[in-house]
Symmetry: C2
Subunit: 148 residues, 2 copies
């Protein structure tokens, strides 16, 4: 399974929405009004510190994630790279797509000068926790969220 | 104790570094080369989605944090606001400074259109966990980190 990752374009938004909703948690929280996502994509694409990325295999979009580059002062002025919205198509899981996605994110993060790659994940995604630990991540932090 | 929060300027960088290092974890990981922080501050200050904020009381810098606005597609194209590098001067703790800091972050996040406020915190900061839960945050996620 070879997956090629590239920056998403506007025409990819329907495929990204389908992946976001193809998820045990995502299915309950994504609304299917494509115009909301299209508008958000345009905003994201204008931001040099945010990139929406898709993975393609056999001419289909099989994975997606967002990468955010965060400059900062803490940790001796470390630049962080943050992964959000990781999805792998349900029929494509356990084929190495996730590991390829992490490798792509690491390469982009290093190219942006980041020295730390981070993400948060819902506590209930226990299988995914094992995946990230196996790929070199440490579950050292608690992720707090507050709806506004 | 009235704390006034404002955007930091270059001249505040030494006070911010002192706060970052005035911390049980931070003291081991901040280097005291101010030029590194000064350069990182200039980069951060140019980024419209990142703001370094300080809190002042009685003409002293008593708190700091960074706020990052993250556009995105997941959660029905939610804009997130993320808090990083929260510090309250050790002699000023338990005086309501932290709650004022969170209120400031929430106001800025809402003004930027964010519908979710998030942060991660080292598992070992148990007292801080209680503080965030008492201030409306849910510890719903695990925070994974990978040094690059």
């Amino acid at each position: 399974m070879t997956v090629v990752f590239r920056d998403a374009v506007s025409a990819d938004v329907p495929d990204i929405l389908a992946l976001l909703a193809d998820d045990v948690l995502g299915q309950g929280r994504e609304r299917y009004d494509i115009s909301v996502y299209a508008k958000a994509f345009e905003r994201l694409a204008r931001d040099p510190n945010n990139t929406q990325i898709i993975g393609e295999a056999e001419n289909r979009v099989v994975a997606c994630y967002q990468l955010t580059i965060i400059p900062g002062l803490s940790l001796t002025a470390a630049t962080r790279a943050q992964i959000e919205g990781v999805r792998v198509a349900s029929q494509m899981r356990s084929k190495g797509v996730g590991a390829a996605l992490i490798a792509d994110a690491e390469a982009r993060a290093r190219a942006a000068g980041a020295t730390l790659l981070q993400l948060t994940m819902n506590r209930t995604r226990v299988d995914s926790h094992r995946f990230y630990e196996a790929n070199g991540f440490s579950p050292s932090h608690v992720g707090f969220k507050k709806p506004l």
